[in-house]
C-alpha cells in the first residue's frame, strides 16, 4: 500500500515538474547581428523633452540625433546640421541641415521640426525638467515657459535652415545643440498619441542611427538599424538589445554566461578580482562626489572650520581603498573632462597645481589642526557634535563611517544620519542638515555647468553658499563673449570656492564596466553615455 502511495506521489511530482516547463514557448529567432548590453535599469521615459536621467539619455542618444553631436574625442561634431555659424555679437546661431533628412517612418525631416521640438521643451504643459538649462538663454524663454511658446526666438527661414536668437552670448551653445533634450521630435506622432507616443515602438518615431522596435519595461529595449538615417551605411549592427537589469549580481551572471557582452553594473565585491583583467574598464566621467556644508549654520559659517574638515580627509585612501579605485581622489572641485579654451580645465586650474596635495595626508592633517585652532577650537575643544546626513547606497555609508574616524583625529565627534533617498533630497535642498553627501555629474563639458552649483541663488546650492565675489566671477563668465576672459573668470571662481572650502570635493566619478573583447567600435563618453551606434561584433 505504501508503495502505491509513493508511486502516486511520484507521478504528481513528475507532472508538476513537467508543468513547470509549460511557459510561453517563444524561442529567440535570428535577429541578425545583435549586440546585447546592460547599461542601466528601465528608463522612466525616453521622450527627449521629459528625460532628465542618464538611463533615458543613453536610449535617446541611439534613437535620436540633435543638430550637433559629440564625437569620440569629446569634440562637437556635425549631426543633423552639416554646418553652423554664430553672428559676431554671439547672439544668433544659424544651423544648416543636411540634405534629405528623414524620420524613421520615412517622412521628411525639416528645420520646422526643430522649431516645433524646441518650442515644445518650453511648453508648461510638457513641463520639461531641463528646459531652463538648455534654453534659458534663448530670447523669449520666459514668455514661452509662461504659456506663449511661440515667443521663443527659434525659426526656420527655409526647410534646411534653423535660426536661434539668444538674449546673451553663450559660448557653449553648441554643446547645448548636442544635448538630448533638444532632439527633434515628430509633431504628427505626438499630436496623434499625446504623452503615450514615447511608450510604444509603433509611435516612437525617431531620427537617429537606430529606432526602437521592442520595449518590454523592466526587461529589455531592442533597437534596430534605421535605414533612413543619413549615415546608415556606416552602421554595422542590425540591432542592439539593451537588457534592463538593476541587480549587479544578475548582470554579472549574464555577462559570465555570455548572454550580454557588456555590463555597466559590476558587483563591487568582484572588483578586486577583476582589476587588471583586459575586459575590466574604468573611465572617468565628468562629475564630483563632494560634501556640502550648511554655511548658514554654526560652526560652518567659519571658512577655517570648513577648510580644516576638508584637509582632514585622506582622499587617496577614500577613493583608492574604500571605494576600491572605482573613484579617483579629488584635489580640485572640477575634475577631468571639463574643458576650457586651452583644453582640460583641470590642468589649468590654480596655475597648474592641485588645490589639495592628496599625496601628503600627514601634512594636510597638521594644517587642518592648525586651522581648527585658529578658528577657536584647539584639538576640537568646544567644537559641537555635528551630524552628517546621507542616503544609503553605493559607498555612502562607508564614506560616512570614514569621516567619523577622520574628523575624530581633529577631536570632532560626528553623528551619522542615514536617510531614505526620497526623503534625503528634500532635506538637503531645504538646508535641513549640517553636513551632507552630495554629488554632481555634468550635463555638458562647459565648467559653468558645475561651478553654477555654488552660485548664491542656484536651486542646487544646497550648502547655501553666498559669496558676492564668487557670484561676480560667475556673472562675468555668463555675460562675456571673450573666451579667454570667460575661462579666467571660471578659474577664478574655482579659486574662490576652494580657498573658501565652500564645499568639500572628495572624489571624481568613474564608470567601470566589463566589456567582451568581441565588441569593437564603441566608446564611452565623459558624460556617462555609451555609444554603440558604430559598434561591431568580431567573430
Amino acid at each position: 500500500m505504501k508503495k502505491r502511495i509513493a508511486l502516486l506521489l511520484a507521478v504528481i511530482m513528475t507532472v508538476s515538474v513537467a508543468f513547470t516547463g509549460c511557459g510561453s514557448a517563444e524561442t529567440a529567432t535570428s535577429e541578425g547581428k545583435q549586440l546585447a548590453v546592460q547599461i542601466g535599469p528601465n528608463p522612466e521615459t525616453i521622450d527627449p523633452a521629459l528625460n532628465s536621467a542618464v538611463d533615458g539619455g543613453n536610449m535617446i542618444l541611439h534613437s535620436f540625433e540633435c543638430l550637433l553631436t559629440i564625437d569620440q574625442e569629446g569634440k562637437i561634431a556635425p549631426g543633423q546640421a552639416e554646418t553652423w555659424e554664430t553672428s559676431e555679437d554671439g547672439l544668433t546661431w544659424t544651423f544648416h541641415l543636411r540634405d534629405g533628412l528623414k524620420w524613421s517612418d520615412g517622412t521628411d525631416l525639416t528645420a520646422n521640426d526643430f522649431v516645433y521640438s524646441w518650442k515644445r521643451v518650453c511648453d508648461p504643459e510638457v513641463a520639461a525638467p531641463y528646459a531652463e538649462t538648455v534654453l534659458g538663454m534663448v530670447k523669449g524663454f520666459e514668455e514661452a515657459t509662461s504659456g506663449n511658446i511661440d515667443a521663443l526666438a527659434v525659426s526656420a527661414p527655409d526647410e534646411k535652415t534653423f535660426v536661434v536668437e539668444l538674449t546673451a552670448p553663450c559660448t557653449f551653445f553648441d554643446s547645448l545643440a548636442a544635448f538630448a533634450t533638444l532632439s527633434p521630435v515628430q509633431q504628427a506622432t505626438i499630436e496623434a498619441n499625446g504623452d503615450t507616443w514615447a511608450t510604444a515602438p509603433e509611435t516612437y518615431v525617431s531620427n537617429g542611427s537606430f529606432y526602437v522596435t521592442e520595449w518590454v519595461p523592466d526587461s529589455h529595449i531592442i533597437m534596430s538599424k534605421n535605414p533612413n538615417y543619413w549615415n546608415a551605411d556606416a552602421i554595422k549592427l542590425d540591432s542592439i538589445k539593451f537588457v534592463l537589469m538593476e541587480d549587479a549580481n544578475a548582470a554579472y551572471s549574464a555577462y559570465q554566461t555570455g548572454e550580454v557582452l557588456l555590463i555597466k553594473d559590476v558587483p563591487t565585491e568582484e572588483i578586486p578580482s577583476l582589476e587588471g583583467n583586459a575586459d575590466f574598464h574604468v573611465d572617468p566621467i565628468i562629475g564630483t562626489y563632494y560634501i556640502s556644508l550648511n554655511t548658514e549654520k554654526e560652526p560652518f559659517t567659519d571658512a577655517n572650520v570648513r577648510k580644516a574638515l576638508s584637509l582632514a580627509i585622506d582622499r587617496e585612501y577614500v577613493a583608492g581603498t574604500l571605494m576600491q579605485g572605482t573613484y579617483s581622489a579629488a584635489p580640485n572641485f572640477m575634475g577631468p573632462g571639463w574643458n576650457d579654451a586651452e583644453g582640460n580645465f583641470m590642468d589649468n586650474a590654480n596655475g597648474g597645481t592641485p588645490y589639495i596635495d592628496t599625496a601628503n595626508h600627514a601634512g594636510n592633517l597638521e594644517e587642518a589642526k592648525a586651522l581648527l585652532a585658529e578658528a577657536g577650537y584647539p584639538n576640537g575643544e568646544g567644537f559641537p557634535t555635528i551630524t552628517y546626513s546621507t542616503n544609503d547606497s553605493g559607498y555612502h555609508k562607508v564614506v560616512a563611517e570614514y569621516l567619523q574616524q577622520a574628523w575624530a583625529e581633529l577631536g570632532i565627534t560626528l553623528n551619522v544620519e542615514v536617510v531614505e533617498w526620497s526623503s534625503f533630497t528634500p532635506l538637503r535642498r531645504a538646508g535641513d542638515y549640517e553636513i551632507s553627501r552630495n554629488g554632481w555629474v555634468g550635463d555638458y563639458s562647459d565648467p559653468s555647468n558645475m561651478l553654477d552649483l555654488l552660485y548664491s541663488t542656484n536651486g542646487n546650492n544646497d550648502g547655501k553658499y553666498n559669496n558676492p565675489e564668487y557670484d561676480a566671477a560667475m556673472e562675468i563668465a555668463r555675460t562675456t563673449t571673450d573666451a579667454t576672459e570667460r575661462f579666467a573668470a571660471l578659474h577664478q571662481a574655482e579659486d574662490i570656492l576652494m580657498n573658501d572650502a565652500a564645499c568639500i570635493p572628495v572624489a571624481y566619478y568613474n564608470d567601470f564596466w566589463l566589456q567582451s573583447e568581441k565588441i569593437t567600435g564603441m566608446w564611452h563618453s565623459a558624460y556617462g553615455y555609451w555609444h554603440f551606434m558604430y559598434a561591431d561584433l568580431a567573430e
Partner: protein
C-alpha cells in the same frame, strides 16, 4: 450561500476603500515627492509638473478627485513613467507575475502537500527528519540567497538555464523554484502537523477498524480534514505570489508587478502606489472570500454566516 457572498462583497468593498484612504494619506505624510532628483529642476518646471498632475491642490481635494476617478475606473497616470497609465502598467505587468506566480503555487501545492503527508505518516523516521530539515531550510533561507545560489549553480556554473528574461520554458525554472521554495516548505509543515493531528482522531481508528485500505482512509478521510489549515494559508499566499516578488523579479529581470510595489514607493509615484495597493488589497480580499467558500465545500460542517 448567495446572501453570504453578497455580504462578503459589501464588506470587501469597505475594506478596499479603507485601505485606499489610509494609503493615500499615509503616503502623502512621508517626506519627498515624485519630481525630486539629485539635480534640482527649476521652480517653474516643478510648478508646471505639479499643476499638470493636480498636486498643487489641497490634499483633501486631491483625495476626493482620486476616489471619484478611481470609482470610474480611472487610476490616473504614473507620475514617473511619463506617458503610462497606472491601469496599463498593471495590465502589462500583472500577467507576467501571475504566470510565474501561478506555476509556483502549483509547484508548492504539488510538493508541499504530499511531502507533508509523507512526513506525518513516517513520523520520527529518517524520511520525516529529512523533510523537516528541508522545510526548516525553506522557511529560514531568504529568497535572495536562493536566487543567488540558483543563479550561480544552474545559470552560470552548469549553464542549464538562462539568467534573465522570460521567453521560453527554461526561463521559468529558476524563478519558479525561488518563488515556490518558501510556500512549499510552509505547506509541508502545516500539512505534517495537521495530518498528525487528524491521524490521531477516533474516526481514523474507526476507519482502519472497518478494514478500509490505508489509501482510502488516508485520501477520503484524513486528507480532507487535514487540508483545512493549508487552504487558509493558500488564500493570502496566492494573492502575494500572483502579484510578484520584488527580489525574485529584480534578480531574474522579470518584468512583473512585484518591482512596482517597492519602486513606486521609493519613487513617490503616488498614483502607482495607490493603484498597486488597491489592486493587491482587492485580490487579497477576494482570495479570502474564495477560501471561505472552498472551506464550505471541503468541510460541510462549516456554516457560512
Amino acid at each position: 450561500m448567495i446572501k453570504y457572498i453578497i455580504k462578503r462583497l459589501v464588506l470587501a468593498f469597505v475594506t478596499i476603500f479603507t485601505v485606499a484612504t489610509l494609503t493615500f494619506f499615509l503616503m502623502n505624510m512621508v517626506p519627498g515627492g515624485p519630481f525630486l532628483s539629485e539635480k534640482a529642476i527649476s521652480p517653474k518646471a516643478q510648478a508646471a509638473l505639479e499643476a499638470k498632475y493636480g498636486l498643487d491642490k489641497p490634499l483633501f481635494q486631491q483625495y476626493l478627485t482620486y476616489i471619484s476617478d478611481a470609482m470610474h475606473g480611472d487610476f490616473g497616470d504614473s507620475l514617473k513613467q511619463r506617458g503610462r497609465t497606472v491601469s496599463s502598467i498593471i495590465a502589462t505587468k500583472f500577467p507576467v507575475s501571475a504566470r510565474v506566480g501561478g506555476v509556483s503555487i502549483i509547484v508548492a501545492l504539488c510538493f508541499g502537500i504530499p511531502l507533508g503527508c509523507i512526513a506525518a505518516l513516517n513520523r520520527g523516521k529518517p524520511v520525516d527528519n529529512i523533510i523537516s530539515v528541508l522545510s526548516t531550510c525553506g522557511i529560514a533561507v531568504p529568497s535572495f540567497v536562493i536566487c543567488t545560489v540558483l543563479m550561480y549553480f544552474l545559470g552560470v556554473h552548469l549553464g542549464w538555464f538562462p539568467t534573465f528574461g522570460l521567453t521560453s520554458w527554461k526561463h521559468y525554472v529558476m524563478p519558479v523554484i525561488a518563488l515556490s521554495f518558501y510556500p512549499t516548505a510552509y505547506i509541508m509543515r502545516l500539512m505534517r502537523s495537521s495530518m498528525l493531528d487528524v491521524l490521531g482522531q477516533d474516526y481514523m481508528r474507526t476507519a482502519r477498524a472497518k478494514g478500509l485500505s490505508q489509501f482510502v482512509s488516508l485520501f477520503k478521510h484524513a486528507l480532507r480534514n487535514a487540508i483545512l489549515p493549508v487552504i487558509t494559508y493558500v488564500g493570502p499566499m496566492t494573492a502575494y505570489t500572483l502579484t510578484g516578488s520584488f527580489i525574485v523579479e529584480k534578480i531574474f529581470t522579470i518584468p512583473g508587478l512585484g518591482g512596482e510595489f517597492i519602486g513606486s514607493i521609493t519613487n513617490r509615484d503616488y498614483t502607482v502606489i495607490m493603484g498597486t495597493t488597491i489592486f493587491l488589497a482587492t485580490i487579497m480580499v477576494f482570495m479570502n472570500v474564495i477560501v471561505d467558500i472552498v472551506y464550505k465545500l471541503v468541510d460541510p460542517r462549516i456554516k457560512l454566516k
